[in-house]
Every structure is written in C-alpha cells, then in structure tokens.
C-alpha cells in the first residue's frame, strides 16, 4: 500500500518534471512576447505590457506578409509533393514483389545515415548548374523524396488489407485508381500524421534555405528570425513575438488533424 503510493508519487513527480521541461519553453516564449528585451534578460517570467510595442517593432522591421507567404508556399507545396511521392513509393515497396525489393529498401535506409550537411555542397553545385539557386524549387526539390516518410508509409501499408486491392482489381480499377480511390481514403489517418510531420519539417527547415535562398524577398520565417538574433543588441521581445507567430501555423495544423494524427501514429486502418 505505502510502497505503491510512494511509487505512484515518484512517477507523478517525474512526469510533472518532464511536462514542465516540455511546456516551459512555450510558456516562456509566449510570456516573452509581452515583455521588453530588458525584462526578458532579467529573467521575468510573468506577462508584461510590451506586446503592442513588440508587435509594432516586428511588423516595421520585417515584411511579415512576404516571409509568411514564402514559408507557407514552400511548406504547403513541399508537403503535398512529399506525401504524394513518398506515399506512392511506400505503397509500391509494400505491394509489388521483386527480388530487388528488400535490397533496394535496405539501401534507402542506409542513405538515412548520411547527414544533410555532407550533401549540401554537391546539392548546391547541382542547383547552381541548373540555374535554380535562390528559387523555391531549389528549397522544395531535395525534400520531396523523404526516406523516412517512404519507410513510414511502407510500414503503414502493411496494415492495408490486400484483399481490398484484389476486390478493386476485380471491380475494374487500374493500379493508380486503386491508389487514388481506395488506398488514399483508407489511409487518411496515416496521411494526417505524415502531414503534420512533413509540414513541420518544411516550415522549420533552416539550413538548406539558408544556403540556397539568397535575396531578402525570398527568405523564409526561420531565416528572418535567426537574422534578428544576429543584431548587435538583439531585441528579444521582438524575436519572441516573431517566434510565437512562426509557431502558429504548425499549431493550427496539429489541432486540425489531432485526432487522425493519434490514429495514424498508432497505425489504425479502419
């Protein structure tokens, strides 16, 4: 009885600690957006009155509409293409038998171990030769064949009932129609979960856009925010206000797809 209570107590303390560590940065970010830079440096963790000042400063210094548009276009197009290309690949890897299948898939997984930094220079040279530097195409193209998402879809496809594909074949559907009219709607939870993951990765993408996007009018929100910290005396209130704004789209998408996200992560095909 006492031992069980003690154990439960310890578990609760540890969980509370973990929750605090996860939630505090968000709390601090939101609170910071309402405080002046000086207050933030002093470590103030309660709501302040500088929200309007920070917002005004942010919107005067930054062409917010433009950079949100840039980030939005890149994230939405990249997410749509990644889901299409990588889910097709995952579907194909699971549905079609071939002697080379497992070898090829193993090779793909091996590629995951190559850090992006190692590919950055060759990629830049390639895009430079193709005259695509400083375009959104250059930001989006390297992300759409995501090995992780291919792997994720292949695993999820294992739960897709094969007899549905057989039934659809007998009903007269071609392979692409089976994918579009049967697989896609049945796997919508998987797509929802992948949407959140891929959107977040693209929205937050920093290193590659930093290298490949060169003019101010093409920059994304992550590049602008990081640029603000590079000032001689960074205005932390302004930066945190921008960070709050930058977090909103991912947050909205997460809440919109929350239920399906959980189903998708659990691998539910219903």
């Amino acid at each position: 009885m006492t031992f069980a209570m003690l154990r439960r107590g310890i578990v609760y303390v540890l969980l509370s600690l973990a929750a605090f560590v996860s939630v505090f940065p968000f709390y601090w970010m939101v609170v910071g957006a309402t405080n002046t830079s000086a207050e933030i440096i002093k470590g103030k963790t309660s709501l302040g009155s500088a929200l309007i000042t920070n917002a005004t400063a942010f919107f005067t210094q930054v062409d917010a509409l433009r950079i949100f548009w840039n980030s939005g276009v890149i994230a939405v197009v990249a997410t749509a293409l990644t889901l299409l290309v990588s889910s097709l690949a995952g579907y194909g890897f699971e549905m079609f038998r071939s002697r080379l299948r497992e070898k090829l898939f193993g090779f793909l997984l091996l590629l995951l171990s190559i850090p992006f930094a190692a590919m950055m220079v060759p990629l830049f040279v390639m895009f430079s030769q193709a005259k695509l530097v400083n375009t959104f195409t250059a930001v989006i193209l390297p992300t759409i064949a995501s090995i992780f998402i291919i792997f994720y879809f292949r695993q999820a496809t294992k739960a897709f009932p094969r007899e549905l594909r057989d039934a659809a074949k007998i009903d007269g559907l071609k392979e692409w129609q089976i994918f579009l009219y049967v697989y896609l709607p049945v796997m919508r939870s998987t797509y929802a979960a992948a949407t959140i993951i891929v959107f977040m990765a693209n929205w937050n993408n920093y290193l590659w856009p930093l290298v490949v996007l060169q003019t101010a009018e093409n920059k994304t929100i992550t590049l602008i925010l990081s640029g603000l910290t590079a000032a001689y005396t960074p205005d932390y209130g302004l930066i945190l206000f921008g960070t709050v704004l930058a977090t909103l789209p991912t947050l909205i998408i997460f809440f919109l797809l929350q239920r399906r996200f959980v189903e998708g992560m659990l691998g539910a095909v219903k």
Partner: protein, 362 residues
C-alpha cells in the same frame, strides 16, 4: 451463366510449384466446391481463375473463351472474399455500385441494379450505412450483394464463412444455397470446411499439394473415395484407418489380418486385382459403420478413452492395446456406454481397403 474449363494449369513462384497440372471442367450453373487442407492450392487456383494470380502455364476458358491474359474485371466473374473486403470509407450502396461506376454505367441504372441486389439479400435498410456499422453476417451479405450487382457469369467465393460464428455460418450457408437456386449461376466456392462442401456442392473437387485428388458428387466422394486421402478428408469424424496384412488372396476377395486389433481377420470382397499375400494394406471403417457385437463380421474390442454424448448420437474415442485410436459412433442410449471397453463388429460390405501407396483397392 457460363461453363469453365481448366487445361493442364500450373502455377509456380520461382522454383516453387504450387499448382501442378490441374484439368477440370465446370458446367454452367454448377455449384463446385474446392476443398482441401491448408496450403493445398485451392485459394491460389481460385485467384488464378479470378485473374489475381498469373497462370504460369495451361489454359483457362470461361464460356469457351480463353481468359489467361484478360483483365480480372473483364472475365465475367465476381468474387467474395474471406475478409469481405468492403471499402471501409464507402456506404453499402457505394460499395455495391462501385464496379458499375467504373464500368461507366449510368447512375439510374446503377441505382436500379443495387436496389435489386439489396432486395434479394434484404439489405435495403442498411444501404446508407458504413461497413463498420454492420455485423459480420451483414458485411458478408453486402460482399455477396456487391458480387451480384456485377451480374457475373461465374461467382467465386474464397472461404466466405470462415470469419463468422458457428450459428451465423449455418445461416449464411443456407442463404448461399438459396441464392444459387435463385440466381442459377455457376459458383466456385473454396473452403476447408467439409461440412460446407458436403452441404452446398453439386460437385466437390478435393485438392492436395496442388493436384486434384478426386472430383465427384458429395455422396459419391463419401461412399466411394478414390484414395486414402479423400477417404480421410471427407466425413466427420474422419474415417478410422487400421493397419493390416493380407493373409490370403484369391479371385473375388482377400483376407486381411488387422495387425493392431487383436489379429482379427476381415474378409473383403474385391472385383479388381487383389494384392499379394503379405502385402501391407490399410483398412478403413467410418465411425458410423461399426456394427453391434454379434451383428456378424469380425469383432474387435477396444478400451474406451473418452465418450462424447451429443444427444442424438455419441462418439466414442477408443484405443487399442497398441495405441491405435479408433472413433466409433453409436446411436443407442448413452447409458449403455459407461463401460471401460466396447466390442464392435466390422461389416465387410462397408469397409474400404487401401494399398500401401494409399490407392483404393476395389
């Protein structure tokens, strides 16, 4: 409504041959059941007919037309799957009309055909539900409905009742039999359940290891199995097999000594060539064919292991001294079965004889 013909059909996956030369003719309107143990190739054969598996060699004809390379949707077949395979995101109505939609049939014609199939299967109240809102039996009816809507020449059923509970299975079995009567189509039905095979089929095809062991009417297979495998597979509980040795052989019959049954001798009539003296044979007796002690014929006495009383009948599981298990069916009062041992008579007229290779000796 169409006939179907398989000529020397083979199927291999790489070096593994799973269908090893099947010849079969199925008449129009016939109800044919493929039966056999797991892995015998019955589902593969059905999927080859459906066009879901490529035919490695040999010919498939439906209605006199070679269909080997024809798209599944153009073979004039419809298939009902074990897992029902209903599209989970579509209502019953959409599921049933899906194939027609893709075939470019007009909307009002689709509605008409769906409604007609729904009427036949009493699915009208369920038409706007999703599959997840249906019970197992209802789902299976929808799957059958989806097949009916396509108005196929041949219906293919792949173990359609395996996922249902016992009571529902009996109910659906009767429904499928009724459906066959009403639609008058050719049906090929795969099952490992020999009760389904016996009750539904006009013709049973027994398969083992990718070859056909025997084709025939259900009772013919029961009364006249071609070999040891069919004899053991058709009938429940299964036929008893007792090891024996031929002690005398002549025109018109042999005498077999049952090695493990107290050396009882059975004299069996044979019209064909008789095995030589000393040849090892197997004697088969169905559980219901053992006679009462004193009813004539050689008698064996066995120790009762377990008795199952089903009310109308009882199954006695008995062991001989050498460990051979014998199942005996008795219809007399269960109170008479309390003894530790039982003596039964073997009726030579209802006894089967098989060679060491498993072939029936007649």
């Amino acid at each position: 409504m169409s006939s179907l013909k398989l000529t020397d059909v083979h199927k291999s996956y790489g070096k593994l041959e799973v269908i090893k030369g099947v010849d079969l003719e199925i008449q129009s309107k016939e109800f044919v059941v493929f039966v056999g143990p797991s892995g015998c190739g019955k589902s593969t054969l059905l999927r080859m007919i459906a066009g879901l598996e490529h035919i490695t060699s040999g010919d498939l004809e439906i209605g006199g037309v070679r269909m080997n390379d024809v798209d599944p949707s153009k073979r004039g077949i419809a298939m009902v799957f074990q897992s029902y395979a209903l599209y989970p995101h579509m209502t019953v109505r959409e599921n049933m009309g899906f194939a027609l939609r893709f075939a470019g049939v007009a909307k009002d014609q689709i509605a008409k055909q769906v409604n007609e199939a729904a009427r036949i299967l009493a699915l009208e109240p369920l038409l706007d539900r999703l599959p997840k809102e249906l019970s197992g039996g209802q789902r299976q009816r929808v799957a059958i409905g989806r097949a009916i809507v396509r108005n196929p020449q041949v219906f293919l059923f792949d173990e359609p009742l395996s996922n249902l509970d016992a009571e529902l299975r009996v109910h659906m079995r009767i429904e499928i039999a009724r459906l066959h009567k009403e639609l008058q189509t050719t049906i090929i039905y795969v099952t490992h359940d020999q009760v389904e095979a016996m009750t539904l089929a006009d013709t049973i095809v027994v398969l083992r290891d990718g070859i056909i062991e025997q084709v025939g009417k259900p009772l013919d297979l029961y009364d006249n199995p071609a070999n040891l495998f069919v004899a053991g597979f058709i009938g429940s509980p299964k036929m008893n097999f007792m090891a024996g040795v031929v002690t005398a052989s002549g025109h018109g019959g042999v005498t077999v000594e049952l090695t493990n049954q107290g050396k009882a001798h059975v004299v069996l009539p044979l019209s064909g060539p008789a095995p030589a003296v000393g040849a090892a044979v197997t004697v088969g007796v169905r559980p219901e064919h053992f006679g009462l002690a004193g009813s004539g014929g050689p008698e064996i006495t066995v120790a009762i292991d377990v008795a199952e009383h089903l009310g109308s009948t009882s199954y006695i599981y008995a062991n001989t001294k050498s460990g051979e298990q014998i199942i005996i069916e008795r219809e007399e009062s269960r109170h008479e079965l309390g003894h530790e041992s039982i003596t039964v008579a073997i009726d030579p007229a209802k006894t089967f004889l098989f060679s060491a290779a498993g072939e029936r000796l007649r």
